[in-house]
């Protein structure tokens, strides 16, 4: 038993403690999880919950666009479909959130497949602009049937996610951890257990070559759409049940752009980048509300920060930081702390221009 623990600790030491970005991620998640022990002010919890929901949403966009290369500018569609279906099931049939969110997410998968099938023929900007169309079409449908869908005002009176805001926080926190972890593993190109990560990247880099190598790219693209839609749907369902109101604002262009903004701000094509983007930009914007004048200038500040950061770090802030603290060994591809001169595994020289060693 003790030996077993020692083995696990050793594994932990090699795989987590010696890689700075993973240490930062671990500390970050512990801090987020422990924050409600120190303050339970409703505003802080609200920011935590919404940031968690948006993190799932942004990461699901990153899985589809950053990893598989299927750039979608209408990702709010999946979010809103689940939100609306969860709200309707809850209001008309009285189902609780434990039932409505999974059902809604499955409906989002169906919608994802409906969007994904036309997407098979298109690529690049054509695809991006076709996906942009779907949420706007759904908005039109919602506005035509206001009696059933609530129209412009939205649906309200949805039951809460859980009795108190504190439990809400932890539910969202756990769901966020699990979803992000699953998506991280699904897109991990170096994984030894699932090959989806490698296949997704192959499709992004060169679809014809991928097909030539015997990969059924149609199946994998649809898989990417379903997984992405499912998780965006989970986020949307929790959003509806947390805010207790579901309106067409999530179908607007700006909300779909939000996911893109967060993911690219943090670093596209890296799952953690989307998380970094959400957890830096979203709280920053919310905290500004508490300052005098903050409410008026927060939009201007948001746009300026976005532009300035991307001008100086066009790869995204997460990738920029990672490049400062980590270096990949050229021989064995293991990750090392940037201040090391030689690889911790194979002792190869890490930088070729380094003359001192």
């Amino acid at each position: 038993m003790i030996n077993y623990f020692r083995l696990w600790y050793r594994y932990f030491q090699v795989e987590v403690l010696s890689i700075p970005s993973r240490v930062i991620a671990l500390i970050f998640f512990i801090v987020i999880g422990a924050l409600p022990f120190f303050t339970q002010s409703p505003q802080v919890l609200r920011i935590l919950i919404l940031a968690g929901i948006y993190a799932i949403y942004a990461v699901s966009w990153d899985l589809l666009a950053g990893h598989t290369g299927q750039i979608s500018l209408g990702h709010g569609l999946f979010f809103a479909v689940t939100g609306y279906i969860a709200a309707l099931l809850n209001l008309h049939l009285g189902f609780g959130p434990w039932l409505t969110i999974p059902i809604g997410a499955l409906c989002a998968v169906v919608v994802g497949l409906i969007v994904g099938i036309p997407a098979l023929r298109l690529r690049g900007f054509y695809l991006a602009l076709v996906t942009l169309a779907f949420p706007i079409i759904l908005t039109g449908i919602i506005f035509i049937y206001p009696d059933f869908t609530g129209g412009e005002l939205g649906l309200f009176g949805i039951s809460r996610l859980s009795p108190s805001r504190l439990t809400d926080t932890y539910i969202v926190y756990v769901v966020m951890l699990v979803s992000v972890f699953i998506m991280y593993k699904l897109t991990d190109a170096t994984s030894k257990f699932v090959r989806t990560g490698l296949v997704f990247q192959a499709i992004r880099e060169d679809e014809i070559s991928a097909r030539k190598s015997g990969i059924n790219t149609v199946r994998y693209k649809l898989l990417a759409y379903s997984v992405s839609a499912f998780f965006a749907g989970i986020a949307g369902g929790m959003y509806a049940h947390f805010l207790k109101i579901m309106g067409p604002s999530t179908l607007e262009l700006t909300f779909s752009f939000q996911a893109v903004l967060w993911a690219i701000f943090g670093g596209m094509g890296t799952i953690y980048g989307a998380v970094v983007g959400v957890y830096t930009l979203f709280p920053f914007m919310e905290v500004l509300r508490f300052f005098p004048l903050g409410d008026e200038i927060r939009g201007v500040l948001f746009a300026s920060v976005l532009i300035i950061i991307l001008l100086f770090m066009p790869e995204g802030i997460g990738v920029w930081i990672r490049d400062k603290i980590e270096i990949t060994c050229p021989r064995c591809k293991e990750i090392n702390i940037a201040r090391r001169k030689r690889c911790r595994i194979c002792n190869a020289q890490l930088r070729l221009d380094d003359q001192s060693s």
Binding site: Y126, V130, I144, F265, M268, G299, V300, L310, E315
Partner: protein
């Protein structure tokens, strides 16, 4: 009814065509998906509003100053923000979204979210077959047509036009032939913003102006450009006219059509892309390999 549909279709179609041509030029030459394009259209409308209502200039002076000023702002924005990170395609797109958001938020900050109106160039209307057509709509249609003709002339008959088409076709080859592609990109950005400003100076008095008015034209312009085929100027004009007429038919004939204007345009775009994935006039290409 038919006549109203026709006039409205030309009006919407002409405005969208001006915007779509500018967007397509920037995409073709500078390879930038400029999401801020309709943001500049909105900015021009507000500049005219400032000139007329706050500074008290006559409308024609305000419009001319706006066309020049907006072109300069476009070039400056290109130099400051877009040009620097051209290599990162997605980052450029997001920066242009950021620019549009910046314009929107600045306008919200200074003018609030209220609807504003610009006076028309010419008051009054003419009655043709029992339909009232305002002179301003006719003016907008004529100005759009003239501006499109000028663009066509510029592209096909002048040295600059040859340079633009060469740069759009093959940047590296154009560069090797001695064209300064960087400067051409800058000029094309200026031209595209000037076109947006022209569109807004004639059309903004027909539509109301408010700080989120860039979203709807953006969707239609993107749809029109895609519909016509990326990289084809003729295609984007025809795409814009198709969508303009579709919107005008839906808005005028279908009940609750106001909500559906954009929806029908987008459905048309999706259907056409299902049939021809490269758009109406796009070059059919096998997948580009790098």
């Amino acid at each position: 009814m038919l006549f109203a549909i026709f006039i409205n279709g030309l009006l919407y179609g002409g405005t969208y065509a001006l915007l779509a041509v500018g967007f397509a030029l920037v995409f073709g030459v500078a390879k930038i998906v400029n999401m801020a394009h309709t943001g500049f259209y909105m900015m021009s409308a507000y500049l005219i509003f400032i000139g007329v209502s706050i500074l008290g200039y006559p409308l024609i002076v305000a419009a001319l100053l706006t066309v020049v000023g907006a072109g300069l702002i476009g070039v400056i924005a290109y130099r400051l923000f877009l040009d620097r990170i051209k290599e990162h395609e997605t980052a450029v797109m997001i920066v242009s979204v950021g620019l549009a958001l910046l314009i929107q938020e600045l306008l919200l900050l200074f003018f609030g979210g209220h609807y504003k109106a610009i006076p028309p160039f010419i008051h009054g209307f003419i009655t043709i077959s029992n339909q009232q057509v305002s002179y301003q709509s006719l003016l907008a249609i004529v100005v759009s047509a003239v501006a499109l003709l000028v663009v066509w002339f510029l592209l096909s008959k002048t040295m600059l036009g040859i340079a633009i088409r060469a740069a759009a076709e093959d940047r590296e080859a154009a560069s090797l032939m001695g064209f300064n592609v960087g400067r051409i990109s800058m000029i094309i950005m200026g031209i595209s913003v000037v076109l947006a400003a022209v569109a807004s100076s004639v059309a903004a008095s027909i539509f109301t102006i408010f700080p989120t008015m860039w979203l709807h034209p953006l969707v239609i312009v993107l749809a029109a450009v895609i519909l016509g085929g990326l990289g084809s100027i003729k295609g984007s004009v025809i795409g814009a006219l198709i969508l303009g007429f579709a919107e005008s038919i839906v808005v005028l004939t279908v009940p609750k059509g106001g909500y559906l204007g954009g929806v029908v345009s987008l459905c048309i775009m999706i259907v056409i892309l299902m049939i021809r994935p490269e758009g109406l006039f796009g070059i059919s290409f096998e997948e580009e390999r790098l």
